[in-house]
Amino acid sequence: MKDVQYFAPATLKEALQLKGKHGSSLKVLAGGTDLVRDMNLEFKIPDAVLWVGKLGLEYIRQEDGLLHIGAATRMQTAGASRLLQQKATALAQASAKMASPPVRSLATLGGNLCTASPAGDTVCAMLGLGASVVLATSRGKRLVPLADFFTGPGKTVIQPGEILTEIVITPSGRNEGSAYAKIGRRAALTLAVVNATSRVKLDAKGNCEEVVIAMGAVAPKPLRAVKAEKLLKGKPFTAEAIARAAEIAASETKPIDDVHGTAWYRTRTIQVLVARTLRQAGGMKEGAE
C-alpha cells in the first residue's frame, strides 16, 4: 500500500489553497462512504486526501429568502432538520431514508453530489428542488444550477482546484410543496432502481405556477423532465394533466439494463413515481385520481 498524504485544515481558506496547489491529486474526503469504500474494495488509493470535516460546513439556515446548506451536512442532520422537512420536504425525505443510520451519520449531501451517481437519493431530491451549488476556489466562487452540474456517471463540472462548499435552495412558500419517491430492490438499505422528485407551486385558482421534475437512474446522469415541466406549467393541475406529464417524462428517459433492473422496468416505474411525486408535491390525496 502506498503512503497517503492527509490534510485536515481548520479553515476553508487553507483548504482552498491546498486544493489549488494539489489539484486533482488531492481527493476531497467528506463522509468517506464512497471514497473509503473505493479504497477498501477497489484499491483506488489517492495520493492525498483533504478532510473537510473541520471546516464548519455542516449547517442549514434560511437567509435572504434562501436555504443555505453546508456541503458537509450529513444525511442524519438533513433528515432530522425541521427547516428542510417544511421548506425542502423532498430533501428531508431522501436524506432520512438513505442507506442506514451508520451510513447516514457519515455520508454528506455535498459528497452525494460530487459522487454524481445517476441513482443518488439526495442528488435526485436536490435536482428536483431546483437547487444550485457553490463551487469555491482560493480566488473566488461561482454558483452553478444542479441542472448544469452533472456531465455523466460520476462526472461533474467541478474543476481540479474547486471545492463544493454550499447548496442553495429556494424554500417552499405558500401553496408549494415537494416530494421524493424511490423504488429499490428491497424496502431499506438499497440503491434506487429508479427515483423521482417533484416540486410544485399552485396559484389561487389551482393552476400550476411552477414545477420541477427530476428523475434518477434512468439516464447517464440525473435528469430533469424538461418537456413534462413545460406541459404542466401555467395549466390546471389536474389528475389528467399529471398522468399526461408522467407519460411524457418517461419518454424523456434513456434507461439501461443493469444488475439492478431493466430498461423496460425503469421506463414503466419512473412514470408511476413521477405521477406520485407530482400528486404529493401538489397536495393531492393519494388514490384520488
Binding site: M1, A8, L29, P101, S105, L189
Partner: protein, 156 residues
C-alpha cells in the same frame, strides 16, 4: 510505509497509535490496537458488523479513514460492558437469544445502544429502523427485536 501518530479516546481511555494515514478505522482498531469486537465484514457499509460509536453516533468503522478520529471519541463493544459487568443490552441479548453465531452482535448492540441513548422507549418499528444497517443471517431478527425491547424496559 510511513506511520503517523493518531490520538483519540477509545472506550473512555486516551490512546495514541502509530499507523499509516491510508487505513480505515476498523483496521486501526483490529490490527493496530487489538480491539477485535468490531468485525470485518463487507468493507462497504452494507453489513454493519464493524459499527462503532463516533462521538456518540453509530458509524461503519470500515468507512472512516483512520486519521479522521484524531481528538474524537470512539466506543466499541468493549466499551459498552464487560463479562463481569455487562450492559443491559448484552444481558438481554443472551437471555432472549438475540445472538446465535455472534458475528453481527457487536455491531448490532452498538446500533441498539445509539437508539436507546436518544430514545429510551422505542417501538418495534423504531428498533427495526435503527438496526436496518446491521445484517444478521442467523436469527431472522425477531429475537434481536425482543432483546433490544427487553433491554429498553430494563433500563427505564
Amino acid at each position: 510505509m510511513l506511520k503517523h501518530e493518531i490520538s483519540f479516546k477509545l472506550n473512555g481511555k486516551s490512546v495514541t497509535v502509530d499507523a499509516p494515514f491510508g487505513i480505515n478505522l476498523l483496521t486501526l482498531l483490529r490490527e493496530y490496537l487489538d480491539v477485535t469486537g468490531p468485525k470485518f465484514g463487507c468493507e462497504q457499509g452494507n453489513c454493519g458488523a464493524c459499527t462503532v460509536l463516533l462521538d456518540g453516533e453509530p458509524v461503519n468503522a470500515c468507512l472512516v479513514l483512520a486519521p479522521v478520529v484524531e481528538g474524537r471519541k470512539v466506543v466499541t463493544i468493549e466499551g459498552i460492558g464487560t463479562p463481569e459487568k455487562p450492559h443491559p443490552l448484552q444481558t438481554a441479548f443472551t437471555e432472549h437469544y438475540g445472538a446465535q453465531c455472534g458475528f453481527c452482535t457487536p455491531g448490532m448492540i452498538i446500533s441498539a445502544k445509539a437508539l436507546l441513548d436518544r430514545n429510551p422507549n422505542p417501538t418495534r418499528e423504531e428498533v427495526a429502523e435503527a438496526i436496518v444497517g446491521n445484517v444478521c443471517r442467523c436469527t431472522g431478527y425477531n429475537k434481536i427485536f425482543e432483546s433490544i425491547l427487553a433491554a429498553a424496559e430494563q433500563m427505564r
